[in-house]
């Protein structure tokens, strides 16, 4: 480590918190993340939960992680390799040794590097750092456990409780290292532990101890500082993708004036949407935790018929189960939001890992010609916007809308300026009105966008029947007439196609004049954007277009794509969006760059891939 005491200014830094499930690393991480955000930095975070619910203490499978990317600007991902690693035990060190830069700062709890813990983590020598060949790292080995024990000896707390404050020591150390405001950190703690004064006091004390320890012991070490960004004014909070999704639905409910109903069944990584909404009884949200996914969507379809903004949330296997019922909503032309938080597949697959492999299922996973709208969010916080838009489109166009997010967005978080509801457009469902009588029929449509008008129980004089059998376009009665079926098939498609008129056009970022266009969709935005930027910075030319609207595609899609000689479609599956674009637009030259590993892209691999491609093209 450096010998002179100085403050180095950084543009950005990646910090990885890691320890046993019980070590409170998620909390430490999110506190430091908030602290940075409050200071005015951009942040992006991603947790890395252990596969088991509670693996044996000190074991490799029990390591819980949290990655935080802080920067002055342009922070779009939690970062690739960490600059700083907090490792509360040897297992944490081992699990993360490949996830850090070669010259990373590693803060470790010296007390936990005893024989017992080393063995549990499967080390065979006594020097784990040597064994892992961590040669270039800057190590801050602090006897955290013993110092915490000393510090809280007089509180009368038992040993186990005392050790729970270890994470606060680490937080204090980090505050010192990054010249963060300890007082602000204390404020956050005060809020968090409002109702547990004893724990609060202990934590406050240990936090300060950690800070002091850094300051005193390593006063000669270089510390860091990250300039604050010029963020838009406003009130900010920390938001995870799943929360943002849930709140976006509530926003749409308020904007439309319709009650929000969620019918759902728990499934990783979508469960928090249900939980978040179940907790929002203060805002009148109704949730039904159904007996399965089919019942989840079916209760929502019932609620939609009854006049609610109805939604259901799930992940891949659940979407498969819901496919028949989505078809019913298509046929009955009822508004419905289906949130699918993608995870690794096929089958049960890799429930806790991220992937984008449900795209074709969302587009085509139903019997018959059954078009519905597909959207994809691309950052944790814009899950709010797309949940809102999904609801708006569903309600205004009387159609099911599938909103795709993924495990990476769902659990990732960023700082989010709480918007005013005025910033969002009005939602005007096509309610029937009295003047339509007596000629109104259930399939009476708005000529402009082929949307049928909506009547629901309680509306006098509009009683009618909907259902899954083909209906006559005029009377709404069951019809097996050949020409009517063609007409209705075409109308259902036309209704979806017409939505292209109300969604934003595709815009090109990076260097629009390039020959090569990078295309992405959904949750890969941050990594793609960052990599494209980095390639352009290196003097190469690369254009970039990212899709949030998948079906229908933005109106200008063909025009935009045809401008480029090569299109590199990057996605976390085996090429689904690439195939979709090919199937929709003839004459494109598409290169498919894919990864199916349950992991997001890394900026590094993307950058390398793009550079290779551009070099080969030359």
């Amino acid at each position: 480590m450096s010998d002179t005491a100085k403050v180095t200014s950084l543009e950005q830094v990646v910090i990885r918190f890691s320890g046993d499930s019980g070590d409170g690393m998620q909390l430490t991480g999110s506190l430091f993340s908030n602290l940075s955000a409050i200071y005015g930095n951009e942040i992006s975070t991603f947790p890395d939960f252990p596969a088991e619910i509670r693996a044996p203490q000190g074991s490799l499978s029990g390591v819980s992680g949290y990655q935080l990317h802080i920067g002055s600007k342009n922070i779009h991902t939690p970062g690739d390799l960490a600059d700083v690693l907090i490792a509360m035990n040897p297992a944490a060190l081992k699990v993360n040794s490949c996830a850090i830069k070669s010259n990373a700062i590693v803060i470790a709890d010296q007390d936990s590097f005893d024989k017992n813990h080393l063995e549990k983590a499967g080390f065979v020598t006594e020097d784990p750092f040597e064994e892992l060949q961590l040669k270039g790292i800057q190590l801050i080995l602090a006897p955290i456990s013993s110092m915490v024990k000393d510090s809280l000896a007089e509180t009368g707390m038992d040993n186990k409780s005392i050790l729970r404050s270890k994470n606060m020591f680490a937080l204090g150390l980090l505050c010192w290292l990054f010249n963060a405001d300890v007082e602000q950190a204390k404020h956050l703690l005060e809020n968090k532990f409002k109702k547990k004064p004893a724990i609060l006091q202990a934590n406050l004390k240990v936090l300060q101890d950690g800070f002091n320890y850094g300051h005193n012991t390593h006063s000669s070490v270089s510390t860091y500082h990250i300039d604050p960004t010029d963020l838009p004014k406003g009130t900010y909070t920390d938001v995870k993708g799943n929360q943002a999704t849930a709140w976006g639905l509530i926003a749409a409910s308020e904007k439309s004036g319709l009650p929000l109903f969620l019918g759902s069944y728990p499934i990783t990584p979508a469960t928090e949407i249900l939980q978040e909404l179940a907790a929002r009884k203060d805002l009148g949200v109704k949730t039904v935790q159904a007996e399965d996914e089919i019942a989840g969507i079916c209760t929502a379809i019932g609620a939609s018929f009854a006049g609610s903004l109805a939604a259901t949330s799930t992940s891949g296997p659940g979407l498969a189960l819901k496919s028949e019922a989505i078809g019913l909503a298509v046929m009955a032309e009822l508004p419905l939001v289906v949130v699918n938080v993608q995870r690794g597949g096929p089958s049960t697959g890799l429930p806790t890992k991220t992937e984008q492999s449900d795209l074709l299922q969302a587009l085509y996973g139903r019997n018959g010609e059954s078009p519905c709208v597909v959207l994809a969010a691309s950052t944790p916080s814009n899950c709010f916007d797309y949940a809102f838009m999904a609801s708006k489109i569903a309600l205004e166009h009387m159609t099911p809308v599938i909103l795709l997010t993924d495990g990476y967005l769902a659990n990732g978080s960023s700082a989010w300026r709480i918007p005013s509801m005025d910033e969002f457009p009005a939602i005007n469902p096509p309610f029937v009105h009295k003047e339509m009588q007596p000629t109104w029929t259930p399939y009476l449509r708005n000529d402009k966008n082929a949307v049928r008008y909506w009547a629901f129980p309680g509306m006098e004089g509009f009683s009618h029947r909907v259902g899954g059998l083909e209906k006559d376009n005029q009377s709404g009665c069951i019809s097996t007439v050949a020409s009517n079926h063609q007409l209705m098939t075409d109308l259902r498609q036309a209704k979806i196609d017409a939505i292209a008129d109300v969604i934003p056009e595709l815009n090109v970022q990076g260097n629009p004049d390039a020959d090569v266009l990078v295309v992405g969709w959904g949750g890969t935005f941050g990594h793609l954007y960052t990599a494209v930027q980095s390639v352009n910075k290196q003097g190469k030319k690369l254009a970039f277009a990212h899709f949030n609207y998948i079906n229908p595609l933005p109106k200008n899609t063909e025009a935009v794509l045809k401008r480029y000689s090569t299109i590199v479609v990057c996605e976390l599956n085996s090429g689904q969006f690439a195939g979709y674009l090919r199937s929709k637009i003839e004459g494109l030259h598409i290169v498919s760059y894919t990864k199916v590993q349950g992991q997001p892209f890394t900026e590094a691999e993307l950058t390398e891939q793009f550079l290779t491609l551009l070099n080969n093209d030359k």
Partner: protein, 336 residues
Amino acid sequence: MHAITYKPQDFKNGQSVRWCPGCGDYAILNSLQKAMAEVGVSPDETVVVSGIGCSSRLPYYVNTYGMHTIHGRASAIATGVKTANPKLSVWQITGDGDCLAIGGNHFIHAVRRNIDLNIVIINNEIYGLTKGQYSPTSRLGFVSKSSPYGTVEEPFRPAELTFGARGNFFARTLDADLKTSQEVMVAAAQHKGCSVVEALVNCVIFNDGTHKDIADKSFRADRTIVLKHGSPMIYGQNQDKGLIIEGFNLKSVTLGENGITEKDILIHDAKCIDPTLHFKLGNMKGDLPVALGVIRDVDALVYDQAVEKQIRTVQEKSKNKSLSDFLHSLETWEIK
């Protein structure tokens, strides 16, 4: 609102009914329309939900809001309708296949949760619409297109399954018995919570006469008993038979024989919380008459109302009146 009264006619619409001539479903449709009129909820606040099957076509023929949905999901969809808007009167019309084969899970969960639905299971012991395969209520050994050598599985008994799912209302009727049909449907509608009505119905085409052994006019009175809460369990052509308990079992006796008088006869208590006797009454057959009428009718916590109540309670205590309120109540910070 209470001033308005309805006639069965108000629940009819112009649609031509498409069941086979002689199908028992016609009788159920008529009874339902009469019951709806008697219950007196406006057609505009009534919703009839069904799945798929001959029986599930019924919503098309009732002049209310209606959903003819997908096979087996009516209970779940009805649960959504009712929970979203508990003010509506929600009926689920379903077949033995729709409700107890593919729809079994949603059914038992709707019963368990005690959603305030009126579920009418039109039990013809066959899949009618798909032209004659056995159903989960077809009797052991039943020969059908899909069981050419007879089935080798015991059927469900809807009463038993309802009670197994902790049901609080169960009634049974026969297509031919319009009076009982109307009565039990009215009772089902008046019961707060999930009401299950099993209607024994004839499918003239694929399972003709399946309920004949009890339905035939000539012996129906001797082979069935119409239970009435508070009344003695007396039945028979001459009203001279009755039910008593012997040990843990029910027994049919003849009034006047062996010194039996009306006083010895069990009084039907549909309101008894313990379901043991209802269970036995629901299962009677053979020497014992098949029970029609309301077998169980017990009040309990109703899901859709409890949901609303919980929301009200939380709202009364909460400062959050809007999403903005809530978001600003989180841990936030200002950028100025």
